[in-house]
Amino acid sequence: MATSSLQRGINAFVEQIDGPVATFFTSCVHCGLCADACLFYTETQDPQYTPIHKLAPLRRVWQQEYTFWGKLMSRLGLGKPVTDAELAAWEPLVYDSCTLCGRCSLACPVGNDIAYMVRKMREGMVASGHAPEGLKNATRRAIETGSPMGVNLNTLLAHIKHAEKETGLSVPLDKQGADYLMVLSSAEIAEYSEIIPAVTRIFHQAGVSWTMASDGFEGTNSGIQIGSSDLAAELLGRIVQAAERLKVKYVISPECGHAYTALRWEGPNLIGRPYGFQVIHIIELLDQLRSEGRLRTEGVDVTRMTFHDPCQMVRRGGVIEQPRNLLNMVAPNFVEMPDAGIQNWCCGGGGGVSAIARAEPLRIKVFSRKKAQLDAIGADTIVTSCSNCRSMLQDGLEHNHMDINVVGLTELIAEHLAPAAK
């Protein structure tokens, strides 16, 4: 980020344009249907938030570098080069008003995966120096201290000590040869540390061989969110190194959307080789334990409960049925929100938006979409499996004076573990 310049940004744009990007731009007929799939447009009715419009500078670079028409215009001096001022103007569109949720990618009639392109465009934005301060600072903290929220090993050790006291069980750290390496999100360590006793109890009951690593415990990847593959690889490399040092068979992705994207889908491409282990989302693992009869619950929560699908886990990640299977164990009054599943609406704070202070008023405004979903079903409790979504939901509910309890799915399951194992 230190040596960013417009030329580096343009070069990064050119490098990011691959077959899919060129095909998507070639196919776009400017129909505007993606606008109605984006909560930043639907809740503001401001056309600048139309997803494909957020890509206009990248599109122009594609035109000028890859198409006959664009090359001809440039030759004739009629091409309009992308400028620093333009990228500065686009920064709020590419970051503040896009959570990379990918709902637009489902709506496009010609099939453009717009979120795929925004992720790529961010690479050029970072290279040109046009990334939001909040995200830059979060990424800098992650690189320097290991966490975008500034939590460190001492914080984790304190939580582990507390969890051991609470559960009477040992929390394994740096255990060589364990089957699973548990990774946490920044927000879990900072705000939702009850996840540690929860997984400790669950894994104890299920007989899971697991550990945490003192040199790779943080899965939140600001590098992915800001759009810097180099930084993303550095952050991810710490987990890969820890997993390979401890010779685990699996790395468990935490309840964090972009941590899952980083670990499960982008990771091997970032480090340039396949892993020597597999990645499994915590919710996938819990559902697997359930299906094997190793996860047993007792009692139910009779409140009217619903599930908020985290975009990166569900629409962009494919973990869709598993949370519902788990909720079926403990939530007899479970009710789906309208548009649940892969069509769910984002919490408004994903993709790094929650780290951008200036984006807060807009994020709170567009929460009206989630409010409408919740108002339609009258839920008492909203369960989710992404700590960032959880935090954003709590924030949005508070701003809207909505008395709805927000809980993490893993903790909910742990609360209902069969007593012998508690």
Partner: protein, 219 residues
């Protein structure tokens, strides 16, 4: 060159040049997209790229149930235009005669009355789509020169064709020349503008489905 000679050139050499530019231009454009390629993902797949890609090519042709007013209008008018355009193109007896001369085989034509309706529907839908492009704030913001150029190039063959069938405005020979020229203009320009979406759309849908299918997401 008198009008008869011009018609002879337009229907002969002119059409051959236009067809050659269209075929080679589209082939180049599509080959370019394919050759750009993408890096093979090193992540472990959860599902099939191919199956999901092929499925998405089909599924994105279906009207989505949750469309807003803008979406409903765009999809309805867009579908009417495309349907009317292709029926008129492929089932007007005069078009079939031309295609038979090129391909060596033909097929039954639709009655003139039906073609009149499909042509009018297609023209009306195109005009409505243009009006919507001017009126709708989202579309207006997105639209650029190529959108209007593509619209004009698509509209002209439909308009001149309808005038030709109905004998409106000019004599038959002039209208036939204008109609053929408008088609040739469309053929020559299409590969280098967003009209290339007529083929790239299949690749775009495939990529979209493949990216999701790799992760086990049914889109």
């Amino acid at each position: 060159m008198n009008p008869q000679e011009l018609l002879y050139w337009v229907r002969g050499t002119g059409l051959q040049i236009a067809a050659a530019v269209f075929v080679s231009g589209m082939s180049y454009r599509m080959l370019h997209l394919v050759l750009l390629g993408r890096k093979k993902s090193l992540a472990t797949p959860r599902g099939s790229e191919w199956r999901s890609g092929l499925r998405t090519i089909w599924r994105r042709s279906l009207v989505m149930p949750e469309l807003t007013a803008r979406g409903r209008f765009t999809v309805t008018a867009g579908s009417l235009f495309h349907l009317g355009f292709f029926i008129t193109l492929l089932f007007l007896s005069q078009h079939i005669d031309v295609l038979r001369a090129i391909l060596g085989f033909g097929w039954p034509a639709l009655p003139r009355g039906v073609i009149d309706i499909t042509a009018i529907l297609s023209i009306a839908a195109l005009i409505a789509l243009l009006a919507h492009r001017f009126m709708d704030p989202v579309k207006r913001l997105l639209s650029d020169f190529q959108d209007y150029l593509s619209w004009t190039l698509t509209f002209l063959p439909l308009l001149t064709g309808f005038m030709l069938l109905r004998g409106i405005g000019f004599d038959y020979l002039t209208l036939l020349i204008l109609h053929t020229l408008s088609i040739e203009l469309l053929l020559v320009v299409a590969p280098f503008t967003k009209l290339a979406h007529m083929l790239s759309i299949f690749a775009a849908r495939w990529y979209n489905g493949a990216i999701a299918g790799f992760k086990g997401v049914k889109v």
